[in-house]
Amino acid sequence: MAELAAIVLVVGLTAYAVLGGADFGAGFWDLTAGGAERGSRVRGMVKRSMGPVWEANHVWLIFVLVVMWTCFPPAFAAIMETLYVPIFLAGMGIILRGAAFALRGEAATIGEARALGATFALSSVLTPFFLGAAIGAVAAGEVPAGEPGDAIASWTGAVPLLAGVTAVMTGAFLAAVFMASDSVRAELPDLVAAFRTRALGAGVVAGALAIGGLFIVKADVPDLFDGLTEGAGLVAVLASGAGGVATLWLVWTGRFAVARYSAAVAVGSILVGLAVAQSPDFLPGELTFADAAAGDSTLLAALVSVAVGLAVILPSLALLFRLTLAGKLDPDFHPIGSSKDER
């Protein structure tokens, strides 16, 4: 049953990495959109795309935390004790990102809109970096099961930092693909072109990070590298690569709606691969999933609750995404931060 709970955990984490990651990636493009005039259309699209879905996407993080502390309490406690710095900073980023996004629509002056927009965009980049670094630190075996590890050194090694940067770039890649598709639906060809370029650029960078990262992993954490280059881990790595290449080709040829799914495979497979590579360990070299698992009665109760929950959530999510992709929930498009009224 511990294995089943571990699968649920990894599925939740993958969903968050893809869906939540894309929302953070949208913030990355907001941050890098350029000056107020030049960037206003990209920023308008970011707001329009994220608006209806980001809160539901964010709940996957809650899901992951809850499953972790219910089904694997010692692992949760150990991770929180050692990695409290990046996790706390990610928490602050989550507050600033969400609140600034929610409130920016109420800004009345350009100054206010820019201040809230900058807060949103900057925290959208920092948050996935710290979350990625925390995941990288776990994968790199930096989290001991007993006495807490070093609060700084545990997540500032090459592998955690690489994981942080990769989290940012994969999010940016996903967001660009998703928003290119959204721009097609909104019939805004200039933005289709803008996000197409961004998707290709971010895809190449994220791919390079992933491939280059493998060499860093090989040097620093050989066990993890072995896990990623044999058996199921290798399958996941290859799936990620294939998804990435397919996405670049689909984006190049302008088939964005399909590219959404291949991009999700490319990014999701990385997390699945990490999980497979380090299994049966939850905290590599320290604690297995089986040893970290709660008692069977708790696992059963949690799995039943999750199953019942998913029976409610999945149709609801399907409805949300169906309405979104059908354009039923699209807010009107307005450039953000421009001094000219471009409506």
């Binding site: 608006g51 209806p52 809160e55 539901a56 964010h58 709940v59 993080l61 809650i62 899901f63 935390l65 809850v66 499953v67 502390w69 219910t70 309490p73 010692p74 949760f76 406690a77 150990a78 991770i79 929180m80 004790e81 409290y84 706390f88 990610a90 928490g91 602050m92 989550i94 600033l96 990102r97 969400g98 609140a99 929610a102 409130l103 629509g105 109420e106 800004a107 809109a113 609060a151 709660a294 008692g295 009665s297 708790t298 109760a301 949690a302 609750s305 019942v308 929950g309 409610v312 959530i313 609801s316 409805l319 949300l320 309405l323 929930l329 699209d330 807010p331 009107d332 307005h334 953000i336």
Partner: protein, 444 residues
């Protein structure tokens, strides 16, 4: 190890203090919005639609801030109290899993509802709001379940210092769930109702007239007028449960030093250094309220060693603040009901409107005071009589920095949110009355 226990507790308290008022809106606002939309569908009066749209816009903003401030709470459970989670996570965790499900449903349908204005059919639109109301209730129920469990832990055995034989559903449905849940649920309606009513009471005092403003005042007032009297009954139920299960907490609530038969109750006053100043003493009332028997024995603080007692002054004074404000809220509600009954209209007095304006912030104070009462009243235990808070706290030495950081973030957030929400409150209904689509894009 426990160098920063106090800072950790304050950090947790601050984070909860910011989040809980937002939860009130998550609980109560959807029902109010749907009520206004229902009036629109029934009457066709666009003023009701404007009100529902305006409220749903604010509802979405408050929900978003609630989402992120709630997330930091789940981080803090691990960051600040790792031993609590390590040892007990498997006992109470399932409640949070179910809460997560509720939260998902809420997030999904709030998006469909708010972004679906004028895009979904009116019937589909109002239907999409119903899951928000339901999940607001269930979400609160599961979080409250964990809190109830901390105050009266059950669903496990302890053998040789180890937690064994965990029965998660027994923990989930502990004896505190029901009264705490109803108490909090009603509090949600009181806080959200009075704060929203306060906005329209200000408008009425400024001479704003018309269906939009009138409905904005009457809808929340009708809700609080039902909730406030009911809350007094539930409060009595809660106190009787505490008397049986956490007698030390009851003693702290009342500042009762010695075990007493036929204990009196001191209403009001301030508790300083073991004495109550300025209260009104009513003989035998505490025994009567707690056990419905004027001569019942009430356990005093002296029944437990000093290190097992909560800080009495904070608990008792918070409790008095909550009860005092609750009484005021009930009086305002009674005033409203009386005028509706006598003249089927609002009380004409400007003092009524002023009282409603004051009731909004006061209800938040009562809410926080109530939580201080139950949570500080649980001390020194994090899991009542099983684990001390000092055993649960992290040994991390970055706590003061974290506390300072989150304080700064929350002060800034509160200031920005206050300014922007007040701006929305001051706007007339023109924007919603005239705009066609449900976009919220009032951007420069």
């Amino acid at each position: 190890m426990q160098e920063y226990l106090l800072e950790a507790r304050q950090m947790q308290a601050l984070s909860l203090g910011v989040h809980i008022p937002l939860v009130c809106f998550g609980i109560a606002f959807p029902a109010m919005v749907l009520f206004a939309e229902g009036l629109w569908l029934r009457t066709g009066d666009p003023a009701y639609k404007a009100l529902a749209k305006r409220w749903s816009k604010v509802m979405l903003i408050l929900f978003a801030i609630g989402v992120v401030t709630g997330t930091i709470l789940s981080f803090e459970l691990g960051l600040l109290w790792p031993e609590f989670m390590r040892r007990w996570g498997e006992v109470f965790g399932v409640a949070f899993a179910l809460e997560g499900v509720s939260f998902f449903v809420e997030a999904i349908f709030i998006a469909i509802y708010v972004y679906g204005w004028d895009r979904l059919s009116p019937r589909a639109h109002i239907m999409s709001g119903i899951p928000i109301v339901v999940s607001g209730f269930t979400g609160a129920a599961f979080v409250i379940s964990v809190n109830g469990w901390m105050n009266n832990p059950s669903g496990f055995d302890v053998e040789g210092g180890e937690v064994v034989n965990v029965r998660p559903f027994e923990a989930l449905f502990n004896s505190n769930v029901w009264h705490e849940l109803i108490h909090m649920y009603l509090a949600g309606f009181l806080v959200a109702g009075f704060l929203v009513a306060g906005v329209y009471a200000v408008a009425a005092l400024k001479g704003k007239r018309g269906t939009y403003y009138r409905a904005g005042l009457v809808i929340p007032l009708a809700i609080v007028a039902l909730a406030a009297p009911a809350q007094m009954v539930v409060g009595d139920w809660a106190a009787r449960t505490i008397a049986e299960e956490q007698p030390t907490k009851l003693a702290a609530l009342e500042g009762l030093d010695e075990t007493t038969e036929g204990a009196g109750l001191t209403a009001g006053g301030i508790y300083v250094d073991g004495k109550v100043y300025g209260g009104i003493e009513i003989p035998n009332l505490l025994s009567l309220l707690a056990f419905h028997d004027p001569n019942a024995e009430i356990q005093g603080l002296d029944a437990v060693p000093e290190e097992d007692r909560p800080p009495v002054a904070i608990v008792r004074n918070s409790f008095q603040v909550m009860v005092g404000i609750g009484t005021f809220l009930a009086a305002v509600s009674a005033w409203f009901l009386w005028a509706r009954w006598r003249r089927s209209s609002l009380p004409g007095s400007k003092w009524f409107l002023r009282a409603v304006v004051a009731a909004g912030p006061l209800s938040v104070v009562a809410l926080i005071a109530g939580w201080i009462t139950t949570e500080v009243g649980r001390q020194p235990w994090i899991v009542y009589e099983f684990m001390r808070t000092e055993e649960a706290v992290t040994g991390a030495d970055g706590i003061p920095i974290g506390y300072a950081t989150i304080t700064a973030v929350y002060v800034a957030l509160a200031a920005v949110a206050f300014v922007l929400l007040r701006r929305i409150a001051r706007e007339g209904p023109e924007a919603e009355l005239h705009e066609g689509a449900g976009n919220f894009e009032a951007l420069p």
